[in-house]
Amino acid sequence: MAKIHIKGFILQLIAQTDGMWENEIAASVCEEYGRPGPYWQGAVRVTLSDLYSGGLITSLEERFDAYGDKMRFRFGLSDFGRQRMADTGLL
């Protein structure tokens, strides 16, 4: 079966779990689409900020990554995100 678009895949990935750390999400996307490297990991993070700002996913847990000087989030699907996925045939 043809692969779904990446943002849809990310939503489906999060929907199957009760929360996923962003580096796990990035690793799954890079593996699924055969796109390793920091560029695609960054691209997944940008997509996650879009989804978070739009309220489709929520942050369940945060930790500060002092090594990367960045915030790391564990994201879960919101009710709104679930509804939007249903609207667009992603569930």
């Binding site: 678009h5 943002k7 700002s53 739009g54 309220g55 945060e62 960045k70 609207d87 667009t88």
Partner: protein, 347 residues
């Protein structure tokens, strides 16, 4: 405050800042588009046409808009190839029934409806009226986004939108009274007013429709789907209709436009309009359709600046008043506390 809390606040502020940066880029590029967008009318074959005849003017407008959409799509394809997202575009466009239908609908409103409406307003009332009518679109976009998917339009954001629009009106105000009084003498001026309403409604509705599809799709792929749809509409519906039912030979007009100077201007128009749209669509998920559209409406000020830089015709004093208002309106929105904006929807 703990380090984690500070880092979370910084992350939030960064997302919002990027949303505003993208919307501001949209305004800059939209303003820059007016230079090739205005210059193309002075090139063959358009310069030889009689623009006082509404049929010739509207046919030329349709041909220019078709070629502009083509040029935009060319640059968007290039953009996707550079970003390595072309395959993801393919995966997005095929989901016609569930997802890309929203982009196809957005293209009707933002393309033929808004752009053609804008040309009608220009042709039957005047360019100043068309500019002001176009600037009203964030009111439509913000209202639909608020009612349809509960976007947070705070009092402060609403005030910012109104101040920016007021600034836009101040920039173009001096010409409007003359245009309105001369239009009132003409029996066909209602077509121009209808065109003005089509422009404001078209761009406003486009943003709201696109905002819905952008929830679940990548903005770079989404905007390319939207322009693919627009090219299909112009090339497969509007151009054949004009060729069959119009009294001007559009096929020759299209072919005659493929000269060096016109192609150069069309490529410049494509690159500015294309990336203006990329920035517009990237800002929506981060700061919402209402704010993204309002900041993008600063294009009214940038258009005057770019046209002044290229034509050396400098604006009058009212431009400074308008500029102060649009910048003030933008600051009003930008300085809104980031905890209000953390999530752009009231869920």
């Amino acid at each position: 405050m703990t380090t984690a809390m500070q880092a979370k606040a910084a992350f939030r502020a960064r997302s919002i800042r990027w949303g505003f940066i993208w919307a501001l880029w949209c305004a800059v590029l939209w303003g820059a588009w007016y230079v090739p967008g205005a210059a193309i009318w002075q090139e063959q074959p358009f310069v030889a046409m009689n623009m006082d005849d509404p049929r010739q003017f509207l046919t030329a407008a349709a041909v220019i808009t078709t070629l502009n959409a083509f040029s935009v799509l060319l640059f968007l394809f290039l953009w996707l190839i550079v970003l390595e997202k072309f395959r993801d575009f393919g995966r997005t466009v095929v989901q016609l029934r569930r997802i890309s239908k929203w982009y196809f609908a957005a293209a009707i409103f933002g393309g033929p409806m808004a752009i053609f409406g804008s040309f009608l307003a220009m042709g039957y009332v005047g360019a100043v009226f068309a500019a002001i009518a176009g600037l009203l679109y964030p009111i439509v976009g913000a209202t639909i986004a608020r009612l349809w998917y509960n976007e947070k339009i705070t009092m402060r954001a609403a005030l910012g939108i109104l101040v920016i629009i007021g600034g836009g009106v101040a920039i173009y105000a001096p010409g409007i009274l003359g245009e309105l009084s001369s239009a009132s003498a003409s029996q066909s001026s209602w077509i121009g007013y209808l065109g003005g309403a089509m422009a404001a409604l078209g761009w406003g509705v486009e943003g709201a429709l696109a905002g819905r599809a952008l929830d679940v799709t990548d903005p770079d792929c989404g905007i390319t789907v939207r322009f693919t749809a627009e090219v299909i509409y112009w090339l497969c519906l509007v151009m054949p209709a004009l060729a069959l039912f119009g009294d001007i030979d559009v096929i020759h007009l299209l072919l005659d436009a493929l000269n060096f100077k016109a192609i150069t201007l069309l490529l410049l128009a494509g690159i500015t309009f294309g990336f203006c749209y990329v920035s517009w669509y990237k800002s929506f998920p981060l700061i919402g359709v209402g704010r993204g559209q309002a900041i993008a409406a600063l294009y009214g000020a940038f258009a005057v600046v770019f046209l002044a830089a290229f034509t050396l015709q400098f604006p009058a004093w009212n431009f400074v008043v308008g500029l102060a208002l649009v910048v003030g309106g933008a600051f009003l929105m930008y300085t809104e506390k980031s905890d209000v904006l953390e999530v752009v929807r009231a869920l």
